[in-house]
Point group: C2
Amino acid sequence: MSKNLTNRSEDYSKWYNELVVKADLAENSAVRGCMVIKPYGYAIWEKMQAELDRMFKETGHQNAYFPLFVPKSLFEAEEKNAEGFAKECAVVTHYRLQNDPDNEGKLRVDPEAKLEEELVVRPTSEAIIWNTYKGWIQSYRDLPILVNQWANVVRWEMRTRLFLRTAEFLWQEGHTAHATKAEAWEETKLINNVYANFAENFMAIPVIQGLKTESERFAGAEETMCIEALMQDGKALQAGTSHFLGQNFAKAFDVKFTNKEGKQDYVWATSWGVSTRLVGALIMTHSDDKGLVLPPSLAPNQVVIVPIYRNDEQLEKITHVANTIMSDLRGKGVSVKFDNRTTFRPGAKFAQHELQGVPLRIAIGPKDLENGTVELARRDTLTKEIVSLDTLTDTVEQLMTEIQETLFKKALDFRDAHITKVDTFDEFKTVLENKAGFILAHWDGTSETENKIKELTKATIRCIPIDNTVEEGKCVYSGNPSKQRVLFAKAY
Amino acid sequence: MSKNLTNRSEDYSKWYNELVVKADLAENSAVRGCMVIKPYGYAIWEKMQAELDRMFKETGHQNAYFPLFVPKSLFEAEEKNAEGFAKECAVVTHYRLQNDPDNEGKLRVDPEAKLEEELVVRPTSEAIIWNTYKGWIQSYRDLPILVNQWANVVRWEMRTRLFLRTAEFLWQEGHTAHATKAEAWEETKLINNVYANFAENFMAIPVIQGLKTESERFAGAEETMCIEALMQDGKALQAGTSHFLGQNFAKAFDVKFTNKEGKQDYVWATSWGVSTRLVGALIMTHSDDKGLVLPPSLAPNQVVIVPIYRNDEQLEKITHVANTIMSDLRGKGVSVKFDNRTTFRPGAKFAQHELQGVPLRIAIGPKDLENGTVELARRDTLTKEIVSLDTLTDTVEQLMTEIQETLFKKALDFRDAHITKVDTFDEFKTVLENKAGFILAHWDGTSETENKIKELTKATIRCIPIDNTVEEGKCVYSGNPSKQRVLFAKAY
């Protein structure tokens, strides 16, 4: 366990990279751009998975599993999708290694084991899935198909960062098929709502729902909905997307069905996903210069108990008290760990749990044994209080809710304080440079303007918020007429 | 839903292939040897995962995630392991596709995007994981590491069959690191026990625990423990393996630690896994000529309710009764589905649920409404009875246990009736040909004899059972002295 983190104010990016490694969440691997998710980081991802999976099933979805590989001919079938991902595809070309005759003890690709058709490691699964759906769908009776997959995908990104952008990442990808356009649209919106609820109520991350502009859309989608969050450094992070795919994939893979009127039509589609990137969003929304701060809903251990003792007799008594506390807390559904390791001193344990963001720490020492109390320390506020054993369980239970709410409120206040309406391009640039955050500005609706603004400021249109009101105005860059403000930001 | 399955007695292999597809468990994909696991099949795998994951965590293990790719130089570091898997490796050689100048609208591998070092798609993860553990382990204080990973792996098998042998499959792989040989051995045995308990108590599949012979061992292991099950056609199926890896991987990746005495030593290792192959074992152990038979513990729906009605008024009344039944059963932890689809007749629903192995079917018709009864049909015994609504919940709850036990007992009786002790090679061949199953015979302990027997009969040594008693005898093939019988069988 190494000592101090770089301060956020000093170097936010460095703070993030250090925190991920020091809090034992993940590390870089021997494979360029691919990470190892360590047990503590994976435990957080498992909690996200469990909750999302529950939400998907509650809304009628089932899980399935499709192949890791996409034959090149299928991959290229939907042109826009193929074009969007071709530049970052890992490609399997051979299926065997052999002893290298020029290099004893080493292996080489067996030139005779070349695949007839190359296999793309899935960067996303629309192609392989829609090729499969073709066999599943004949009639409206076979619809809707509401399927989700938990999987790994590979996008050969050049600049990678732990959790935020990795060559391989874990995600879920939903792929649904519908008889009507309206139904597919409802599904797109339903899932974006599921994502927004999950982010706000479970991860305590406030998000803005919106539509992507054409240039920010998923390759192959007619529309992309998204949830956008704001990190502590004023940069936006796209936390989830839900795509209305129209009939693009049905046409590319010739998936038709007989509707109720007996006529043939192409099937309507959606796809949607969130990934291990959410762990990055979690870290950057709540954590501080001391380390990770976790909302109770996502903490692998919600409470940790640290014994402070000078001899075995004291430890025995403390252990007895700790066992009672654990039993009571577990009865209330609170996860708790007794950190009775003998290889670390209390100070080192405190530092570790602070760094790893355990929401509540209970310390029990000899004085506490005499007084029937414990010391209760809150990670989010870094406050401590002495609590009687009689009221401890209730206090902890209440704090689980309170901490969750406090974190959300704090993030919401920060986010709301960092949405700025601007009406001139000078103001746009000034805000972006000094305060950053989201900027609400009029835009003329053209990709030219969007690209120009990006080129000049690095800010992109994060989304057209779904709760936008019509408001006549002039484009902040071109001065051309506009009917609504859109949300700009620099983004991860 | 298509009609009849091939009978098992007619063509067991064909029966299996048809059943997997017709019961909507899985199907072949566009990628050679890779399967699509359909929602119904995946729901069974999810139940296995949940129970295994619980058992791993209960025994102190944590989940983590390591990269899909293994750089060639790491892959070849442990020689035996590399040799064992080199012949069936999918290899990534490029990281980009580009428009094919010779073929408009098509893509090709970009020759300029060739990787400096090829990446092997993991066939198993010892190499990448031990290369990672090197950074995690310095002292005995860092041990043990008890990590499991849920992942996909790829082995480019030439002859594949749904679930039983596929080029890509899903599995869990545990990888543990220990300070002493004894502790690593205990772990190896502990996990093999976990697997045996899981197979017997959760999947209702009796298994024999044993040690593999040298030639059947995992490539890179010092010893391989296994659980072996017997399928209805008398062939054995290896259902799980737990490997004692000695210090082989620690030496290959130079993973040393300082022990309590302050001396440097190589770390001791185990690895262990079960895969989606277990779904194949499940099917082949319990199912019959009518379709799938599922033990209640693994059934996505334990009970299905089918309404039989002539008009809306009847349906409404039946729905009312069904809702009460569902609420009661769910209160008892029994999963239940009301199949009120209007697009299928009761007969078609009965056929589907029989084919898909739902343990209990409740039918409710107009007569039942009058009498306060339902018709309760048991999938495993294909028996029906009329049950009063008053006692239904209790009856169903009891049947959940009874069916689980009956299936295990039936499989155990079959298995035990198919273990034959033989003392001559003629007898060996006769039993193998006529009765099949497991054969307990003396073996002289040499690979030569083992290979010769395999060559002559296709039977292999499945394991040396761990509960073997010492028994002097003569090798069934060579006549040389032997001290114990080993378990032979033809195997999947």
